[in-house]
């Protein structure tokens, strides 16, 4: 992490781009990427908190209502890195928090 990255990730709010599966976009009534504001530094948890705050219809669809855990068939990627099983307080990489790349929520391929 460079000094500049660190500064970006600890000051103010950042604007995150998030890509979601079609069905979550439909539920949130958005098309394409969504952009949400989140307080720096942004973690996996706070990014999803910000997404749910902006789109309450998504509450419970990405993380389970009762445990707060990621649903088994949703994967989370940032800058090509699979953060699905990373601790939820893992910081998102600068390339995502700077808005250069989106955080990606991907539905597992499971047939049906």
């Amino acid at each position: 992490m460079t000094a500049m990255d660190a500064a970006e990730r600890t000051a103010g709010t950042v604007r995150l781009r998030i890509v979601m599966p079609h069905q979550l976009r439909a539920l949130a009534r958005v098309t394409g990427e969504v952009a949400v504001e989140a307080a720096a530094p942004v973690t996996v948890r706070t990014a999803l908190d910000a997404l749910e705050a902006a789109h309450p219809a998504l509450v419970g669809t990405i993380r389970k209502r009762d445990t707060g855990q990621r649903r088994a068939m949703i994967r989370i990627y940032a800058a090509g890195e699979d953060l699905s099983n990373a601790p939820v307080d893992t910081l998102l990489p600068a390339i995502v928090t700077s808005g250069h790349e989106p955080l990606q929520l991907v539905g597992a391929i499971a047939g049906g």
Partner: protein, 371 residues
Amino acid sequence: MSAVRVLVGTRKGAFILTAEGRRESWDVAGPLFGGWEIYHVNGSPADPDRLYASQSNGWFGQVIQRSDDGGASWEPVGNDFAYEGEPGTHLYYDGSSRPWKFTRVWNLAPAADDPDTVYAGVQDAALFRTTDGGHTWHELAGVRGHDSAARWAPGAGGLCLHTILTNPQDPARMLVAISSAGVLSTTDAGASWALATKGLRSDFLPEPEAEIGHCVHKLASHPSRPDVVFMQKHWDVMRSDDGGGSWREISGNLPSDFGFAVDVHAHEPDTVYVVPITSDELHYPPDGRLRVYRSRAGGDDWEPLTEGLPQTDCYVNVLRDAMAVDRMDPCGVYVGTTGGQVYVSPDAGDHWTPIVRDLPAVLSVEVQTLP
């Protein structure tokens, strides 16, 4: 009464079928919530424009949708179905004990007198209620708190509370059915519950007449006579004349008394409909013929209804919530199949015609009769 609105839940979305009173020319709207499993769509008896839909899938869990304009537009409402207190455990298929775990809403039963009050039957078996139009849901924990609950075990579809039979004459009385625990009744608006399984016999149980373990598939009653309840069980069609206090078999001359759906004619409380299915291993109609059976005698004596239904090479199923009646005169009867057909009979079952033939597998059918 001049129109009907048929609310269809399928494996891949919801559809709304509408027709004028003759029920000849149909408009098909949908899919709504495409790609999601829609276990149930139901309308409020107090306000037919108020609809609720249970939307779920394995990726994203449970969503409840609400419409205030008869299905033209929808809004997601509350999906927090949290069990009261420590959930405890129930038996699993292998005899082990597992914690209660919410999976989905099987059935939505809007109250007769208030569009904002809705009961929800869920898996793992519990009863919830909203009084604010679906925004918040609270468990009526007396069901799951019954002394026998730790010994309940799931049926093939899961440990689901799939039927909520409200009593239009006395809102404090209610029956719920759970696969494969049985039936419970309340007379105090859900504060306390008692088993209502006397007379049920299930030969797959070590004790066939045990209090619990009966795989009840569906209950139905006529609004004018709520103490008479009809049941399609895993095997056996049953009848109670005392609000579930005791049951007797009325399978009579049915070709198979296995099946899922049961319903009652809108104007004739002793006219009952079932759809016989071959067996628990063969979930399709006997002899490849889709036959709805009607009894005009409250059971025992059944006649096949075949006119317009496929009588060769038909191997679809009719699931527990996939039969409904309208309140027109003559009464219309509706059946949805796992092959995606929704059939209507505008003359109480004498003649049938498909409204649609190629929907995703139909999970549920409800009908609203509109002024």
